[in-house]
Symmetry: C2
Subunit: 308 residues, 2 copies
């Protein structure tokens, strides 16, 4: 059924990025059902939650339980977001397989989002790496560089800032550095240029493309990243989520549409689209009334469609 | 204000493809206001209507009046769709500057849509070209090859059918042959492959990419076409329209999002995005209650955005 030699890795961020962006809190039992359905579709990486204080994000209060459940399902990598060392300690204790740390390329967004300068965040990441090295050397540490393509607060984010920050993070010992279009300002020419520069700077530490569909360019930007060698893509089932701290930002790339694009192109994802679309039901059951998106689920798969 | 050396040509099809796909009929006075607003945005090509019997498409009954008005506005090419020789006679009499004739690549769709085989359509196109040559040699004749990327009736449309048909149309004397994703089944790899093969077959007669957003891939497919040298793109303000004869087909590419993508990439369109977005108001005034789409108009232009 599933392609056993996928060409791209789709990293589902809905249970983290999606759920922490909506007002309602999904109950733990609904989260577990949704994650089971996502696993059944053939996904090989999932971001299950954020290790942050429950009073800041009550939607994530049960993250350790959700993580434990996801770890019991075989054949995928279970990630969690941690904003700082304290979060990393908790996530590592809970048995996380991969950490992702958001670091803003925009100086203004960094201060607004985590009240730290970018340099302070690099130092924090270095402490997280040291903890990982000492206590859980097999755990991967990824940085998702937010506002890499522009910022709603400061506007333009110079390429040089992105590459300078990536180099500093590589020196700090992270395994992967991805670029996030937090604010939906990226365009395909910029995506190609920045990922090309990123690879020139950090080589195989080049990580995921995390694109938003704020202005409709999400898939075009993923295609552009694929064209310059990116092979990991963050997306969210039903397009759930965005960044609540970047005013006007909205709309993760829809996993269903992204998987359809790649499979239709002959690029294997290892994901069964019908089962992926079926995972919308437990999402909707757990978040009644919350709008979800996706053109492929609405239109259906085209006549004659086959997975790679 | 406008870039006087645009790198791509955006061909607005809303007044034809959009209006003939909705149930309501826009009044002539509203059409003229809408066309004025589209012209003011800097568009350089527009498809104003179809020359078809009014009893088949009452939305197009006033096409000659609308055409005459559009011809009075300077600096753009005024097109009309004609399904056959009779339509071409009427359009040429009305003073059209460019004819577009739909010809299906899918044998099944050709019979369902115009009750003619593809070979009969090539013969009809040859008669249209002969009429043009005899009576209005400066008028351009374009074929938009529908279902070039797949068909909801027959499923797969072989590349060889598309290229065979393009070659026959080139021999019949048309000036441009574009490829249309009538059914929203195209993917970027296929778009690159087919336009590459098309150019190899017909050279500079390669025409527009007419993409649909049925499964969310509209802009990614436009990017793919741009990558292999396509420089004319059909789209519809507010994403109005689709093909009423291809079951399940919907969603023209949204002009506003397409223009935003190119301008953000540094590819000049010659179009002022604010004025383009302002042209949504007369569209909505003329079609009250009709849903229109577009991510860029909803999100707004990003901070620091500049036209090329």
């Amino acid at each position: 059924m599933y392609n056993t030699n996928p060409a791209v890795l789709i990293s589902e961020v809905g249970p983290r990025d999606g759920l922490q962006s909506v007002q309602a809190t999904m109950s733990t039992v609904h989260k577990l059902r949704w994650i089971d359905a996502l696993h059944a579709s053939g996904l090989r990486e999932i971001e299950v939650g954020s290790f942050v204080p429950a009073k800041l994000l009550p939607q994530m209060a049960d993250v350790a339980d959700v993580l434990r459940h996801a770890l019991g399902l075989p054949g995928w990598t279970v990630m969690a977001l941690v904003p700082n060392l304290r979060g990393a300690e908790a996530a590592l204790q809970a048995g996380v397989q991969k950490l992702t740390v958001p670091v803003s390329a925009s100086a203004a967004h960094s201060l607004a989002n985590v009240r730290k300068t970018r340099e302070e965040m690099v130092a924090e990441v270095a402490r997280i790496v040291a903890l990982r090295n000492a206590t859980a050397p097999r755990v991967q540490v990824e940085v998702g560089m937010s506002t890499a393509f522009g910022c709603t607060l400061q506007g333009l984010v110079p390429d040089d800032d992105v590459i300078w920050l990536a180099a500093a993070l590589a020196r700090a010992g992270v395994d992967e550095i991805g670029l996030s279009d937090t604010t939906g300002m990226a365009n395909p020419a910029q995506v190609r240029r920045l990922f090309y520069k990123l690879r020139a700077e950090v080589g195989d530490k080049t990580g995921a493309a995390h694109m938003h569909n704020t202005r409709g360019l999400g898939l075009a930007n993923c295609l552009a990243a694929y064209d310059v060698g990116v092979r990991t893509f963050d997306s969210s089932l039903g397009g759930l989520g965005g960044c609540p701290y970047a005013p006007g930002a909205s709309g993760n790339v829809v996993t269903e549409d992204l998987v359809f694009m790649f499979e239709a192109m002959g690029v294997a994802t290892g994901i069964d689209l019908k089962k992926l679309i079926a995972a919308r039901a437990p999402l909707q059951a757990g978040l009644p009334g919350e709008p979800i998106y996706g053109m492929t689920p609405e239109a259906g798969l085209p006549k004659g469609f086959m997975h790679v």
